[in-house]
Symmetry: C2
Subunit: 606 residues, 2 copies
């Protein structure tokens, strides 16, 4: 991605917004006055935020007359979700933002101790391009200047240390040091958050929370529209693409990836498919960007890890139209893409690349609709290209044990339209790749950043967003090792009355790490927990709000998945699935083999 | 503290060490070769490290032929303690270092996802001056140079972003980019860690772990000796102090604080007390620096929060000899010290201050023994000064409910010689201040940094260190709110076979935050857990390794504390103590009142 272009875009947006805002204010500086907190919350409401995550701490509460978390608790349309810890809160905000497109995730923590605990969650949102606002309650403006030895400080007067750390993992930062600039600063970082789809960092000193500022500015909405593409360049690009499509005769495939979701071109891609009928495949991080039930959808392409028939179709196409590619190691089958640049067109949010030629500033959001009109002439030819139906049969196996080869296709049959499916990094995110998900379902995994434990917090946020959007069930797949990192958030799920189904894959340790290295190492073993007691221990004390199950064999799994009461998911449910310690999904095994080969090569080179 | 002097000291140490090391190597570059991992582990062993904490991840394991965590697991005298998550691992390393004086805590994490999760724990160790080594397994040197889009990265090629964040919270950093400098780099950061008593950060690329380097350098031990004080200045300082002591006639008190523990002058202070018989008091962070059973010990001084008789004795003394002061808000009763500089002598690790005159470079480690000889003449006079015996009676209360006023003195009677007592930030750390601890006991609390959830990880590390040092029981006091942040580490305690006694103060929420702000706010409520099921759910699946209890009234608490089987602590034990939602320890109530007053003043000023 072209960072400088993106920065310029953001700058243009900000200036336009500021100009409008100043015009409004100019005419009515003496209008209604509201507190800075109210201003911020109204902006969040305008962005569709209904849940704010976090942990209370004194710097985000204690200020008089009304503290910040109080404001949230008192807000009629925004709920305060109190998490068990800050990392989990950051994950929840990430999950919320992923499901609730066009909105953002918000996490509130306190100075130092709170915000640093959230860092890994925020960094993950940065890496995977998820818009999250991190609000930190900090000491008063006077204290920030005088630097007394307050609790939560490093004890050496460096009050800016935490902000410096945050600069590494957020695209924009602001500290509200005076009320004159507060509204403009809030608008600036929120605009960065929504246009760049990455986390931003806002610190609010305790004495700023209740300061009054003019409300009028709120009438100017925040803008997420990217600046227009240069018409001449755009026309050239469109013609050039049409030529190449023509040359490729009918053998063209579309490959969708993460940025198609993050930069909001799913509808545009759907229109392109309807009009052109080109076959479409998806990278792992683009899973569900195009409906996996679409008749022109052929499955997941992940380099050498792909199903051989998919690999063949994609790599041998005359032309690949790649949309929103994000070529990370795990997303490309450990860099095993075999798609030459000379046969590729790449569309990105801020630039276009046709074979080796780069066109900066030509973004896909505006290009795609025009491309669709331009290419509709190929509809008939492309329609004739067969796309093998993407499905996964449940294998017939001799024994009763639940193998990965059995498990993933079997749960595939359980999924319904509009389900939100969350897969933990590692075994689960590899296992589910081959499973086609139903129409309008949403798939969440953290394939680039890959922080274990992520999926528990994510499930909380995703389930709350799914409730807002009237989606279906939220279903999580997580291994026993990963679950242990962030388990306490089950408590917040119970408290928030969301009812996900949680499959805990119990294989007695860090399965992915075992396969990457150390098959029988003690450090890959974990302590076995009584998984089915977790929900009643961590909040459902009288056992009325949840159900827990252990399934040990194929028949047990079948019976549960066929149970209509279970499938209704009107309580939170946890299913412990007993798996063999050494068994692993196909994709993970292939990835581990490639990884080992690469590691050996690397050592040979040194 | 004088940072520049300290930096110079560290520099001198390093150069001296480097010089010695070069001399050794010069004579035998062709001697025994060992891997960089072995070199590092041998250095750790020399520093007395027996447990290393962490979470495995692929960048700290996968390298061939033998990965780093493998090295630790295979080491005969260093145990690998696999934690549930990285924050908890960092806390455990902090707790280990605090109890195991003259050693360090070590935590191992993986690139990005692991290290960032540990940040808050490392920052706490920085703030409170605890020597912790953070080892991070990172991509290979080739990858660090070429910057492919690997998992665990931010996706934008900034491979140095995590190190930049770490620079904010560690005193020294090193990345082992080649084998030539590896040993010197390891020695440099370890020397910084032990001499500056603060965290350091070491990243090891996967391809460096098994590189061979000469072993010979290990013969030169790491030095922690501070450089000598300037003899002329030191003599002047000693004479001046003696004069002031003379002028003060007999009315002199010693006040010990955090840095007396962190900079290792407990023995020197004990000698001073034996020879001079001056009365001695302690700040909260200095609790147990001097035995609380000492006949010249008068209790805890914490400004306006102090017991009035202690406040009177300290603030009206003619001269206060302050040793290792750390004047943070909570450690000074919200900055309510009433001890004028004109009656104070302050001894620090790198400087001395006599009234208003500063003497840089005159450190207490070497000054104290000389001061002791110098001042022994005052023995007789000082002995006549009465020091009220520091004790806390259990009050007679009418009702059965366990109040804080009852609870803390009652558990005080339960403590034994050599117990390690851990108090969570907030209610517990305030509650325990008035309780005298027995001889040779160790007290741990995080009063400056104040990160909730800290004490759970700390208890694991402290209990392992206590086992090494043949100390007594490890006893934790933690509130239900704080416990929820880091609860999973109970699992590691069970696995590591340590047997702490854990008192969970169940008051249905964030008690300290309630008192600081928002008495009936929902955000200060937490979900009630089945506390007595935690240990059997999180690892003691057959219930043979642990016991859990709920005590609801005074009689129940008495009965349990009088039970010899319970007191033996040969299993891990959890005691849920039911307390009133609004009750609070005396000290916390006073602190909250002062805090509120200050906040109102601050707003008045703005």
């Amino acid at each position: 991605m072209d960072t400088s272009t993106r920065d310029l875009q953001a700058e243009v947006n900000k200036l336009q917004h500021e100009l409008q805002a100043l015009k409004v204010q100019h005419h009515s500086d003496d209008g209604e006055q509201i507190t800075i907190s109210e201003y911020l919350l109204t902006r969040l409401e305008q962005l569709g935020v209904t849940s704010v995550f976090g942990v209370p701490g004194d710097f985000n509460m204690r200020e008089c007359p009304l503290p910040r978390v109080d404001y949230i608790e008192d807000h009629p349309r925004i709920d305060w979700i109190g998490n068990c810890n800050e990392l989990n809160a950051a994950y929840a905000a990430d999950g919320y933002a992923r499901v609730k497109e066009h909105s953002i995730g918000v996490v509130v923590t306190t100075f130092g101790v709170g915000e640093l605990s959230a860092m890994n969650g925020i960094a993950g949102a940065f890496s995977e391009m998820v818009p999250v606002l991190h609000i930190v309650g900090v000491p008063s403006t006077v204290q920030l200047k005088n630097k007394p030895m307050l609790h939560h400080t490093l004890g050496d007067g460096r009050f800016d240390a935490y902000t410096k750390a945050a600069e590494q993992i957020t695209v924009s930062q602001a500290t509200l040091m005076n009320k004159t600039h507060a509204a403009a600063e809030i608008d600036r970082i929120l605009t960065d958050c929504i246009t760049r789809a990455r986390p931003v960092y806002l610190t609010i000193p305790t004495d700023m929370v209740a300061e009054k500022i003019p409300a009028k500015r709120l009438q100017v909405p925040l803008s997420r529209t990217p600046p227009p593409n240069d018409p001449d360049v755009e026309k050239y690009v469109l013609d050039r693409i049409a030529e190449l499509v023509e040359e490729a005769s009918k053998d063209i495939v579309i490959l969708v990836d993460a940025c198609a979701i993050r930069h909001d071109v799913r509808q545009e891609i759907n229109d392109l498919l309807t009009k052109t009928r080109f076959p479409v495949y998806s990278a792992p991080m683009g899973k569900t960007a195009v409906s996996e039930a679409h008749d022109r959808y052929g499955g997941i392409y992940i380099g050498s890890i792909s199903d051989p028939s998919i690999k063949d179709k994609v790599e041998n196409a005359n032309l690949i139209l790649s949309i929103g590619a994000l070529k990370s190691d795990f997303n490309t089958g450990m860099f095993t893409y075999s798609v030459p640049t000379s046969r590729t067109i790449e569309l990105h949010s801020t630039h276009t690349q046709i074979r080796h030629a780069l066109f900066p500033g030509i973004g896909m959001k505006q290009l795609l609709p025009k491309l669709t009109s331009h290419l509709r002439q190929f509809h008939e030819g492309a329609s004739q290209l067969p796309v093998p139906h993407y499905k996964l049969d449940v294998p017939k196996e001799q024994d009763d044990k639940i193998s990965h080869a059995f498990f993933w296709p079997r749960v595939g049959q359980f999924f319904q339209k509009k389900d939100v499916v969350v897969a933990e990094t590692g075994t689960s995110s590899f296992g589910i790749l081959d499973v086609p998900l139903p129409e309008q379902s949403v798939f969440l995994a953290q394939i680039l950043y890959g922080s274990i434990g992520w999926s528990i917090g994510i499930t909380l946020g995703a389930a709350l967003a799914a409730r807002d959007k009237q989606l279906g069930r939220t279903i999580l797949f997580v291994g026993d090792g990963s679950f242990q990192l962030t388990v306490q958030e089950l408590s917040t799920m119970i408290h928030s009355k969301v009812t996900p189904i949680i499959f805990v894959l119990n294989n007695k340790g860090y399965n992915i790490e075992r396969h990457l290295h150390g098959m029988d190492r003690k450090y890959n073993d974990i302590v076995n927990w009584k998984w089915t007691s977790l929900l009643t221990t961590l909040g459902d004390t009288d056992g009325t709000l949840s159900n827990s199950y252990t399934v040990r064999d194929k028949a047990g799994l079948d019976k549960l998945l066929n149970d209509a009461e279970f499938a209704k998911a009107d309580k939170i449910q946890l299913v412990e699935v007993i798996l063999d310690k050494y068994d692993t999904p196909r994709g993970l095994q292939v990835a581990a083999d490639i990884g080992e080969k690469l590691a050996k090569q690397a050592l040979g080179q040194v």
